[in-house]
């Protein structure tokens, strides 16, 4: 068996029968072997797009996503996506070709030190220097990518190892880093704090979904009825219709969520890391609250805030052991009132009016299938998606959280559609972000995937423009995109059906046409460039001092 054949065999063994990538010199033996392999390869049009597709695949399934690239520029093109996967804890195995071992270290053609480049943006990286190591390294890569807190693992494989013979696979080693086991004493202490608290709030993060613990979380929330808020990555974990679910917290969080957290005397933080976009001014975040922090990663405990009780371990085991019986009726009344008082209201789509992005997204959420998958880019539209759309599960909402990478939306949607060919998949894109991976229209065209693209076009780098308006004295520097191409015509050049709308009255029919279209579709929505995202917590400000509207 050649190294290339062994790689493909290993992919099949690990359940990675669909992969994304882009060929080139140092990975040619693998692409050659691919022709005779059951592994299905999806050619994206940029390595960043291929890796985002692998991320979309992984996030829609909680399985390991795989992508492949050549050495040199292929490998460097992957770096942004690796960092994205690292910061959002996405399990990936990324295979790069490397120049032959005899050429390594000589500045050979398309040689870069990808191992070195990857160190700080991968959970782990390995270079295969002996044929006998190839399969054990791949086994290890899959194990590391998914164990504990998931993350991306890079495997760099010299061309001659792909071409040469490698020995048969060896039995797999068990997980190497023993996972923390939740301590009974910590669980008792947490339950005690929950009983004693007057104003508890459950703060739900992306770790719940990554631990496959959504059912256990929902059961806990139903048993206890405690008020709940979510991070961007946690959206879809709690049940949207739960009367004490308050939505997203943080910089663009819902007012009720931020106010409840600021008033809380106890935060139960589950699979979250107190990111600065969540806490606002850290010293004034939930100032009266004790903290129970539940996570799989010991490095997150006490990192940004001291935890009064920490529980390290598997959420599937911890959540059923948590409980709270004491009544908190006056707090629950307060929370319900906040939720009512601060609820968003949506405009009817009236003729002659500008299109209101929040109302459009709410209508899209109502019209789409219950388990539709929505990916998005980064900016104002991303926050509107998080605020105004509802998700049946966190795997239904794909958003670049930690790195906040423009250009994520379309390729991630492609990966999700590969993972879930029969589900409705939509990419909600900003006009700026869309152009960052626009080449992936070619991927849609090639595979005729029915991904629906909605471009919310405000002819601006909207989120940056919003900050320039609010915090830089309206000094608009390099955020005008009014010379955008006609997106609808662009789609047509790729053979993708499209439509453009400018008037609010066109919204319901346009959404319906898009959703009912059998193939890929692009809906270009023209917005007024003045619209902003509310609420916003200004920089270095406590969350309860958010601005809820234009001043």
């Amino acid at each position: 068996m050649t190294g290339a054949q062994a790689i493909l065999k290993s992919l099949i063994k690990h359940g990675a029968d669909r992969v994304f990538g882009y060929p080139g010199g140092a990975i040619m033996p693998l692409y050659d072997a691919l022709l005779d392999s059951p592994v299905r390869h999806f050619l994206c049009r940029h390595e960043q797009g291929a890796a985002f597709a692998a991320i979309g695949y992984a996030r829609a399934t909680n399985k390991v996503g795989v992508c492949i690239a050549t050495s040199g520029p292929g490998a460097t093109n992957l770096l942004t996506s690796l960092a994205d996967a690292k910061l959002d804890s996405v399990p990936l195995v990324v295979i790069t070709g490397q120049v032959a071992r005899t050429s390594m270290g000589s500045d050979a053609f398309q040689e870069v030190d990808v191992l070195g480049l990857s160190l700080s943006i991968c959970k782990h990286s390995m270079q295969v220097m002996e044929p006998a190591d190839l399969q054990p390294v791949l086994n290890r890569a899959f194990a590391i990518a998914k164990e504990g807190r998931p993350g991306p693992v890079l495997v760099d494989i010299p061309k001659d190892i792909q071409q040469g013979f490698v020995p048969e696979d060896v039995p797999e080693q068990p997980a190497e880093q023993p996972l923390p086991q939740a301590k009974d004493t910590a669980i008792h202490a947490a339950n005690h704090l929950l009983e004693q608290s007057q104003r508890p709030v459950v703060y739900i993060g992306g770790g719940v979904s990554m631990a496959n613990a959504v059912p256990q979380l929902r059961d806990f929330l139903n048993r206890t009825g405690l008020p709940q808020v979510s991070t961007l990555k946690g959206l879809g974990s709690a049940e949207n219709h739960h009367s004490h679910y308050l939505g997203m917290l943080g910089m663009h969080g819902l007012a009720a969520a931020n106010l409840a957290v600021q008033e809380a005397d106890l935060l139960l933080i589950i699979g979250a890391r107190l990111d600065d976009r969540v806490t606002g001014k850290l010293e004034e975040f939930a100032p009266q609250a004790k903290i129970i922090h539940v996570d799989i990663d010991p490095a997150e405990i006490h990192k940004r805030r001291h935890a009064d009780v920490s529980i390290l371990g598997d959420l599937q085991q911890i959540l059923p052991a948590l409980d709270c019986h004491s009544q908190k009726s006056s707090w629950l009344e307060r929370v319900e009132k906040l939720k009512q008082r601060k609820a968003f209201s949506y405009a009817a789509h009236q003729a002659g009016e500008d299109i209101d992005a929040p109302s459009l997204l709410r209508s899209l959420s109502d019209l789409s299938e219950e388990d539709a998958i929505v990916s998005c880019d980064v900016g104002q539209h991303q926050m509107w998606v998080a605020q105004h759309m509802q998700f049946s599960h966190p795997t239904r909402h794909l958003s670049s959280g930690g790195l906040g990478t423009m250009g994520f939306g379309l390729p991630a949607a492609i990966g999700a559609q590969v993972a879930e060919p029969d589900k409705q998949v939509m990419a909600v894109c900003g006009d700026g972000s869309f152009m960052m991976n626009v080449q992936e229209l070619g991927t849609l065209r090639r595979y005729q995937m029915p991904v629906k693209i909605l471009i919310l076009d405000n002819q601006r780098l909207g989120m940056v423009k919003q900050w320039q308006e609010l915090f830089h004295d309206e000094r608009y520097s390099e955020t005008d995109l009014s010379d955008n191409p006609p997106f609808s015509q662009l789609a047509q050049a790729f053979g993708i059906a499209s439509c453009e709308i400018t008037d609010a009255a066109e919204v319901p029919a346009a959404l319906k046409t898009m959703l009912e279209h059998p193939g890929p579709y692009l809906l270009h929505v023209r917005l007024d460039h003045k619209a902003n995202v509310w609420p916003i917590v200004p920089p270095n400000t406590a969350n309860h001092k958010m601005w809820e509207q234009a001043r």
Binding site: L115, G116, L119, S120, H124, S125, Q127, M129, I144, E176, Q177, D297, P298, A299, I301, H302, K303
Partner: protein, 80 residues
């Protein structure tokens, strides 16, 4: 604060780089460093200082797959 760390690493490419990079990124400065390959692995002694509690660094070092063991030998008051 200044801390003396004793690390034992498997002899993998980039093992040392990972330790140095993690230390820098988490806001610690290295004032002394000694390393030798014992044959069984890399024995590393490192004196670091930084404004943050040492667990900010050690919990991250513990995540390195090349790290076999880590001991904090002693804590000294900062010397100017």
């Amino acid at each position: 604060m200044t801390y003396d760390l004793e690390l034992f690493l498997s002899d993998q490419p980039a093992a040392l780089e990972r330790v140095l990079q993690t230390t820098r990124y988490r806001g610690f400065k290295i004032s002394q460093l000694q390393m030798h390959n014992s044959g069984a692995g890399l024995q590393l002694s490192m004196q670091v200082s930084g404004p943050q509690p040492i667990n900010i660094l050690t919990t991250q070092l513990h995540k390195l797959y090349d790290l076999a063991s880590l001991n904090i030998e002693q804590t000294l008051p900062q010397t100017a």
